[in-house]
Symmetry: C2
Subunit: 150 residues, 2 copies
DNA sequence: TACAATTAAATCGTACACGATTAATTAAAT
DNA sequence: ATTTAATTAATCGTGTACGATTTAATTGTA
């Protein structure tokens, strides 16, 4: 096995390691969230709204790096399930603000405690956690920088 | 902002950092691969087959952590575009082996050079690269361990 | 004022991703 | 040998994801 093939090996590819980690997290969160009737991306929406309720679709999209092609139908599903409510702005009728519904406030603690408990069973050291966050931040900056150039 | 809300902040969540990194990689690879007429997940399939041609659908699924619900239609698309060919095993007619087509061998170098060039422009230090790989491996092991317990 | 450019959402088409079910084949057990 | 269990793919339904286009509302400017 020469060095070129070695570089090409799936196991050596950072993209794949991240792809795998992401899908593992998705599965973990999906399991935990299933009893509550929300999906992992929907949970990310709730996280954003718990931080700041009433964000517009656009702002939510910026926060989560998602376009309207993803968000619009997702919000619609969350609306049907009484997690959020959409409200057209009166001052600018293009804008749609998304507000948490009582259910989302009521379930907040239970959901987050379930998540915290599940994450806890993984025994991830605080040190590793922080190191990973720091390195992913660096990576993100480099990938973003490249995007702007292109 | 108290510590509970702090923990709940999107920016503090490892899952989100990885979710972001993954989608950034997807976008980067998508851009590079688009001229060749393949998607990022399809490229991962090619990577696996370049390493070992003739894998069965099941083996490919294990390698990439994908089920048949994802792979079957994806392989079908790759077959239509002449990247791979499916062959039913004669000894065990349940098994379907997937073989690279000439196109996939012909384009291999060009594709990988394009990817390498794009990654290169990100200026990711070898040190960071390796550190991230190592930590993601540790994380994967912990997440996998948890899966088995559940 | 009028009208062009910009902005915000919604819509559309394609492609993953996954759990659950089904269908066909092989292996195992009595 | 027959039945049962296990294995492998395919199929189905739901839910992201994303680029491109469309629609509606607002802003900028001639």
């Amino acid at each position: 096995m020469n060095s070129v093939n070695d570089f090409l090996s799936l196991d050596k590819q950072l993209c794949f390691a991240i792809y795998e980690a992401s899908s593992q997290f998705t599965k973990l969160y999906t399991n935990v969230l299933h009893p509550f009737g929300i999906t992992y991306p929907q949970y990310l929406v709730l996280l954003a709204l718990w931080e700041k309720d009433g964000l517009s679709a656009k702002e939510l999209g910026n926060r989560l790096n998602l376009g309207t092609g993803t968000l619009t139908p997702m919000i619609k599903r969350m609306e049907v399930n009484n997690w959020v409510k959409k409200e057209r702005s009166t001052t600018d009728e293009r804008r749609v603000s998304i507000f948490l519904q009582p259910k989302a406030l009521r379930e907040k603690d239970a959901i987050n405690q379930s998540i915290a408990k599940a994450i806890d069973t993984c025994n991830i050291e605080l040190k590793e956690y922080e190191a990973l966050m720091k390195q992913l931040k660096m990576l993100r900056e480099k990938l973003e920088l490249r995007h702007e150039k292109a």
